[in-house]
């Protein structure tokens, strides 16, 4: 094992998945498989990851009975409950962070890829970093 393997891998390129606004302003990402990942990742796996993310964001933004109740209660207290209560969105964001970490560990890191949580990019893009593959030929 040489020192190179212990160093941080260099970034080869980054792929950005833009938002899909066809359903309005809700948070949804395009599921189009980027060409740069063709050699690295299975298309089905990729689509599954993005679709799950989209579903999680839809859950966060869901306007239903529970969120109405939360909203009405918040209005009655002049929105001061937001100071002490975790909102539905924040709860789901934590879930998303855990999911992305899990996906990175299981699927993406072994293929030299890294998924960046969209919240770190202002929910604009899903950034996938492709690392240079140096492990080939280093004798495993």
């Amino acid at each position: 094992m040489n020192l190179q393997d212990l160093q941080q891998p260099a970034v080869s390129s980054k792929v950005f998945l833009q938002r899909d606004y066809s359903s309005g302003t809700i948070c949804k990402f395009q599921t189009k498989f980027p060409s740069e990942l063709e050699s690295k990742l299975d298309k089905q796996q990729f689509e599954e990851t993005i679709q799950t993310l989209n579903n999680l964001y839809a859950e966060a933004e869901k306007v239903g009975g529970k969120s109405y109740l939360e909203g009405c209660l918040a209005c009655l207290t002049a929105y001061t409950i937001f100071l002490c209560m975790e909102t539905q969105y924040e709860k789901v964001l934590k879930k998303i962070a855990r999911y992305i970490k899990d996906q990175n560990e299981k699927i993406y890191a072994p293929r030299g890829l890294l998924l960046t949580d969209p919240i770190e990019r202002g929910l604009r893009v899903v950034e996938i970093t492709i690392f240079e593959d140096r492990s080939i030929g280093s004798g495993r």
Binding site: G24, V63, Q88, E120
Partner: protein, 473 residues
């Protein structure tokens, strides 16, 4: 492959996620020993905003007339409790101060929430993202020297919506997002920049704003009613109004303030209730995006049902702040930015120049607008109160639609042009302090500026308010 192949590691390539603060990694657990303490993201925020309490509270750079708004509300309610409540409690019911107190609490809390909450600012694109988008734009354009189109079309609910490219934030703006020139940020579901609250009104603080104006209209109407009742009761038995006013001089002040405010605030509440029920923003309404003037256009965001629209706007889940003000910059980045102090200073002076040119640009535009408006004022739209609030953001981007709005806008753009100049001189020195001195907390410098600029805008704003009311009648 060479064994001694060294490659420069970019900070963005580091797999450690940025929200985890450095103390967890142990490399800056003793900040006292670190020559450069880890910086929080709000300290390097590119927009024109002010941050207090270590990033917990944020406002626009120009606080507008927020001090005046607070002063008016506090003075009127204070006078109400001092002069009117004792009399009315004795002669009518003790519920009156209770109701007044609850309404006042609502008004102040929601006002402060509107002013201090992130309106839904979109962080600017990272350099990699911007480069990727540029590449995409260049690919779609031709190889001739005509600049590639900077708009993207998307179909939402069978309606074609054009997404514009923001040159400052280097990204295609999501639908309903607009760039506020006063705050220099793209704000999601941008409604308007409100000088009365000193902040933009957008996706995250619209419900606070709406609750503020509704509760303020109730409070103003309530105080007006109580003062009228009080004076009427005092003036009974042939004593006369003059006698009543002499006995309770505070009531006269309240009467004047409430009489002039209640119409505009009620009008504003009514207008925003219409906007909420049809799921539109002030920006869209003023630009006439969905009014059907040009062909068959409908609002693609409306759910079709008034109740559902209201619920989705006011009771929907609270979206998170996307700018992560209190997150720490990664250790490398904070060291890099600390090392680039000189660059920051020049950038700061550049942005001040931008602010100054913005100010003169505002003045020039308002001057030309006033010239044009004085010659022809084609429409007197009922939402005169509203257009006063939406002035600078749309004036800078699109001066032409403003000609159709009422003359009220003219007075406010003039005064914002005036109010912006005292801010420039005072914030300039603060800004340079902020850039260079980073060992002691820049928040202290920022704290000093609003108090020093208090006297400036309020006197001018009084004229502005007076001017505004003359145009309403």
């Amino acid at each position: 492959m060479k064994n001694c192949d060294y490659q420069q590691i970019e900070p963005q390539a580091l797999p450690t996620p940025t929200p985890i603060p450095p103390p967890h990694h142990g490399d800056s657990s003793d900040k006292r020993d670190e020559p450069r303490r880890p910086r929080r993201k709000w300290e390097v925020f590119p927009g024109k905003n002010r941050f207090y309490c270590d990033g917990r509270i944020m406002m626009a750079r120009q606080s507008g007339v927020l001090p005046l708004t607070l002063a008016l509300i506090l003075v009127t309610t204070g006078l109400f409790f001092i002069f009117d409540c004792p009399f009315l409690v004795k002669h009518l019911t003790s519920c009156i101060p209770v109701i007044g107190g609850v309404l006042f609490g609502f008004v102040i809390i929601t006002l402060l929430q509107t002013s201090f909450t992130d309106p839904g600012i979109l962080p600017r694109a990272t350099p990699d993202e911007a480069a990727d988008i540029e590449k995409q734009i260049d690919n779609t354009g031709n190889a001739c020297y005509r600049p590639p189109p900077r708009t993207k079309e998307v179909v939402i609910n069978q309606q074609v919506v054009k997404l514009k490219y923001c040159f400052t934030c280097k990204m295609f703006r999501p639908p309903r997002t607009s760039h506020c020139s006063l705050c220099d940020n793209c704000v999601e579901r941008f409604d308007h920049h409100c000088p009365w609250v000193g902040n933009c009104v957008g996706k995250r603080n619209y419900r606070f704003f709406y609750t503020f104006i509704v509760s303020l209209s109730f409070l103003t109407a309530f105080i007006f009613g109580c003062v009228t009742t009080h004076l009427a009761l005092r003036a009974q038995d042939g004593k006369g109004l003059v006698f009543a006013l002499q006995e309770s001089p505070g009531s006269a002040v309240e009467l004047v303030i409430c009489f002039f405010s209640v119409w505009s605030i009620l009008g504003l509440s009514g207008f925003h209730t219409y906007l909420v029920s049809s799921n539109r923003t002030t920006n869209e309404d003023i630009k006439g995006s969905w009014s059907g003037k040009t062909g068959d256009v409908t609002n693609p965001y409306s759910h079709g049902n008034i109740l559902i629209n209201c619920c989705s706007v006011l009771c929907g889940p609270m979206p998170p702040s996307l700018i992560n003000r209190r997150g720490f910059l990664p250790a490398d980045e904070s060291a890099q930015t600390a090392g680039m102090d000189i660059e920051l200073q020049t950038l700061a002076t550049k942005s001040e120049i931008n602010v100054c040119t913005q100010g003169t640009k505002d003045l020039l535009e308002s001057a030309t607008l006033s010239l044009l408006l004085s010659t022809s004022c084609p429409q007197g739209k009922p939402q005169t109160a509203q257009t006063c609030l939406d002035n600078s953001s749309t004036v800078n981007s699109d001066p032409s639609p403003e000609l159709s709005t009422s003359c009220g806008a003219r007075h406010t753009t003039n005064s914002t042009g005036d109010t912006s100049s005292p801010h420039h001189t005072k914030t300039r020195s603060k800004k340079s302090k902020q850039a260079t001195v980073h060992i002691h907390n820049p928040a202290f410098d920022v704290h000093a500026s609003p108090t020093s600029s208090d006297t400036g805008p309020s006197s001018k704003a009084r004229d502005h308010k007076g001017a505004r009311f003359t145009t309403l009648h």
